[in-house]
């Protein structure tokens, strides 16, 4: 077992404990919102999951840049796994956001909110990444094409993130302003704990998936050599 794999069980345990602590903070410790009531607690899972999706897409783009810069093929798999994670977390953001929208606004979805539509565009863009990737034959050409596509996608991240501030509509709430977070200290602590736990969980899943894919590639090569 390599040194990097040895740290995985410990990290996984830490992620599980962190998720448990974040759940307790979000559901039991943080005070109830005066406006939205209990449904506001969806914030503690929805926003960390969304921010983690942005992080994963950013990591995927960074690895893609490294691939184009150095030509090292290992970055292709790393970029792919990060984007895969980002897409899963992105879809989770859409689902949890939709549930929160129904609870707060009375609708599952609204096309009038730029933030929602741009996030949907971002996720759909990365869903198309897989169509591109699997339509090409495995090799350096596929790696380069996927890397260029991943880099284009990263442009959408700041646009999506800033859309809420640039948009004219006021449907989607703005919690983080220039004056700081618009919530109590306990709420902010619960949010930070949830974000740290979700990010760590995503990192552990990223490492596990990457290890599995590398092992798969090694075994395929070994099978070819033995037969």
């Amino acid at each position: 077992m390599t040194a990097s794999l040895r740290s995985l069980p410990g990290l996984a345990l830490l992620a599980a404990v962190g998720m448990g602590a974040a759940l307790v903070l979000a559901l039991l410790v943080a005070p109830e919102d005066a406006d939205q009531g209990v449904s506001q607690r969806i914030f503690y899972i929805h926003v960390p999951v969304a921010l983690t999706a942005y992080l994963c897409f950013g990591l995927g783009a960074w690895k893609a840049l490294r691939l184009l810069w150095t030509g090292e093929q290992r970055y292709d798999l790393e970029s792919y796994v990060a984007i895969h994670q980002g897409t899963i977390f992105g879809l989770l953001t859409l689902v949890t956001g939709s549930i929160w929208a129904k609870a707060s606004w009375g609708v599952w979805w609204t096309w009038s909110s730029n933030q929602l539509v741009l996030f949907l565009v971002l996720v759909l863009f990365y869903c198309a990444y897989f169509m591109l990737r699997f339509s090409l034959e495995e090799g350096p050409r596929r790696a380069r094409s996927s890397a260029v596509y991943a880099l284009f996608g990263v442009v959408l991240i700041p646009v999506s993130f800033l859309a809420i501030r640039l948009a004219e509509d006021f449907i989607h709430p703005t919690v983080f302003t220039r004056e700081g977070p618009q919530m109590t200290g306990t709420m902010f602590a619960a949010f930070c704990a949830a974000w740290a736990a979700v990010t760590l969980l995503a990192y552990v899943l990223y490492r596990v998936e990457l290890a599995g894919k590398r092992l798969d590639a090694d075994l395929r090569e070994l099978r070819e050599a033995l037969q």
Partner: protein, 72 residues
Amino acid sequence: MSGGEYLAAAYAVVFAVVLGYVAIIAAKLQRLQRETRKLLELARAQPGEERRSAVYAGGVSEATASEEPPSA
């Protein structure tokens, strides 16, 4: 549906997706375990010199190489 039910639904969705993801990874690891076992049998069936050159040609990682059985 009440606010509490929406809250439960949002957290349950995240939990279910993470659980599903872990289940898929576990299934994949089982497949890799089966594959490793088959390769071990294949390697055992080959003469020593041929097996060594195949392993080197395969360029296996440290994790996979350590699965090689002790020579009989």
